[in-house]
Amino acid sequence: MNTGEQTLDEILTLAAAHFKVPRERLSPDDDFFKILGIDSLQTLDLLTKLENHFRVELPDYELQGVSDFRTLAGKIQARL
């Protein structure tokens, strides 16, 4: 099973690929709405990608109030 840090690292890599930004531009505590310039629906799109990658299912409400990669990684890690 992934460690929390591995999960976080994979999320950053997947987010960078999905939104076509250089991986090095993203940091764990970044506000992903701001750094990626995305809205909440695009975040849900990303979440689907992450679910498929990690083979977990997260209800939409788990994402309510989440806006940085580290917290998001914590939510996913809790379900691995």
Partner: protein, 569 residues
């Protein structure tokens, strides 16, 4: 549909609808691609009456208030019907607010009953303010067996045998209390009567009727005025079907259009733009020759639908596009926020009419609507039947504040006569929005005079409501504004919140202060965050009681500084 003129309250109209359309499907609930529930009107009645009976036994009486705090689902509507059946007043609360905000509004509404989804109840019970809750009866949906409900009851078990007494209400009685703002400050609870809703429903269905067989996809939160009307009351009194999806994931939303052959859907601009982005990306992937054919078909469709929508023609010309939306979509209804005309035109040119309108919670659901005769992307349509609109103190261009008079306008703000007197003057609701009518009677909007923003997701954000998160900020004083309130512009859009900061003498705006502001800002939900700041060199004007004179300060800033000096956060 039912003749709503004959009814004195929503409960009576819904009760007759359940009898009249008994065998028709009224609700479908799906979670992702898994269908969870499919109910006929008779099934709906069978499930809701034992709940109404249990409420009756719990001494829930006529005029008592019951709040609902749930994401869109069948239990929302079942609970609402049981509340109306019992003569109760419904308080729909926004599930996207924080637990503290929900508790604040719950207390203000004095609701005796709360129907709440388990995950939201869990957050409320963990809130620091929970000890203060006064609600007598809490019904929790979808709670795991054995979960500690902190005094609440499982919704699924809260039922009694035997026929409950139907409690009739009159048209002037209160049906709902809907909060349009005030989560962090002064709550604005719009008191809406049964007449408000019955007349709104009559007006809307006169232009856009539902009928048995129509399937409406409910995506906007049901606590929002639009979905409450077009995703509950409207379809039910016409025998139509409401489809709930327990996720907003774009791929499942797209799938639901096809799976359930959706007829109507109401969406906020953010979702419509997401759909547009998806379609444009698909179009861009087409080989050149296919793209050329598509462009020709779109151009032909534009010509053929210039005067009115012709769905059959459009479906023939652009079959793939229409198949992607299930093949039976008649219109996308949009509301809640400003929509880019280019996005509306994009869909209309594909043969999918976009019905936009203008309304506010204080006026029920909608005051104007595009009647598509012909489609106009540059306006918010004409006043609905029974709605009178006036432009107050128009300037040389005919632009002024819009005032509305209609049977759909709320009676008052709950427990706030002062605010009510400011909002409703001589029977006219002052909307705070600026507009004018064109020669064909269409309303065009030109911004607002209120200090607020409306997000693309349809959320009204008042600066006063979010300022508390910055309490104790180490500066001399600060004040949050809607940028367009400080720097008025004659168009909609480009909305953001801006913070004016007055530093202490000799204080410098350093990275520590920026970090403090950013950290606090991120405690707010993303759609409520302040977008930028401006350093102001003078003390803020204040009243005798030391309150900031917001309007005077906004005018002073607007006159002295350019919008361009705002530093993005």
């Amino acid at each position: 549909m039912l003749d709503l003129q004959k009814y004195s309250c929503l409960g009576a109209a819904l009760r007759d609808a359940l009898e009249r359309f008994g065998g028709e499907i009224c609700l479908i609930e799906a979670d992702r691609d898994r269908e969870k529930t499919q109910l006929t009107y008779s099934d709906f009645k069978e499930i809701s009456l034992p709940l109404a009976r249990a409420l009756e036994d719990a001494e829930f009486d006529a005029g008592d208030r019951a709040a609902i705090l749930m994401t869109n689902q069948s239990k929302w509507l079942i609970s609402a019907y049981a509340i109306f059946y019992s003569g109760g007043v419904l308080v729909p609360l926004d599930y996207k607010l924080t637990a503290a905000e929900q508790l604040h509004l719950l207390a203000h509404s004095k609701a005796k009953v709360l129907v709440v989804e388990y995950y939201l109840w869990r957050a409320i019970t963990q809130s620091a303010e929970f000890y203060n809750i006064k609600t007598k009866l809490v019904l929790v949906t979808e709670a795991p067996l054995g979960a500690d409900l902190a005094g609440g009851f499982r919704w699924e078990d809260f039922k009694r045998k035997g026929a409950p007494d139907f409690v009739m209400r009159q048209r002037e009685d209160v049906a709902c209390i809907v909060y349009s703002s005030g989560t962090g400050g002064r709550p604005k609870g719009c008191v809406l009567t049964h007449e408000n809703y019955l007349e709104q429903c009559r007006a809307l269905t006169a232009w856009y009727p539902f009928w048995p067989g129509v399937r409406y996809l409910s995506i906007l939160p049901t606590n929002h005025a639009i979905d409450f009307m077009v995703g509950f009351i409207g379809p039910f009194v016409c025998g139509a079907c409401v489809v709930h999806l327990r996720t907003l994931r774009p791929e499942f939303v797209r799938d639901a259009f096809v799976r359930y052959r959706i007829t109507y859907v109401a969406l906020v601009p953010m979702i419509v733009k997401n759909l547009e982005r998806g379609l444009r990306a698909k179009f861009d992937e087409l080989p050149g020759w296919k793209r050329a054919i598509l462009n020709r078909m779109i151009a032909l469709n534009r010509v053929l639908t210039r005067n009115k929508p012709r769905v059959k023609v459009s479906r023939m010309l652009l079959p793939q596009v229409h198949r992607a939306f299930g093949g039976e979509l008649l219109a996308l209804i949009t509301g809640g926020a400003f929509m880019e005309p280019s996005t509306m035109q994009f869909f209309y040119d594909l043969g999918i009419p976009v019905v936009n309108g203008y309304g506010l919670t204080e006026a029920g659901t909608s005051l104007t609507l595009n009647d598509l005769k012909p489609f106009r992307a540059d306006t918010v349509g004409r006043p609905l039947p029974g709605v009178e609109l006036r432009v107050l103190n128009p300037n040389e261009e005919g632009i002024g504040e819009i005032a509305a008079r209609s049977k759909t306008v709320m009676s008052q703000y709950l427990d706030d006569p002062e605010l009510t007197l400011e909002a409703i003057v001589d029977g006219w609701l002052l909307t705070g929005d600026l507009g004018r009518f064109d020669n064909s009677g269409h309303l065009q909007l030109f911004g607002r005079k209120k200090n607020m923003i409306v997000t693309e997701g349809g959320k009204n954000i008042y600066p006063e409501d979010i300022e508390t998160v910055f309490d104790g900020l180490p500066v001399k004083e600060y004040c949050v504004f809607a940028a367009n309130y400080v720097w008025p512009q004659k168009e909609m859009g480009q909305e953001m919140l801006v913070m004016a900061l007055r530093l202490e003498q000799n204080q410098r705006f350093d990275s520590a202060l920026l970090g403090e502001i950013t950290t606090r800002n991120r405690r707010l939900p993303d759609f409520k965050r302040v977008g930028g700041y401006i350093i102001w060199e003078k003390d803020f004007p204040r009243t005798a009681s030391m309150k900031i004179k917001r309007q005077a300060l906004a005018e002073e800033i607007g006159k002295t500084a350019e919008r361009g000096v705002v530093v993005e956060l």
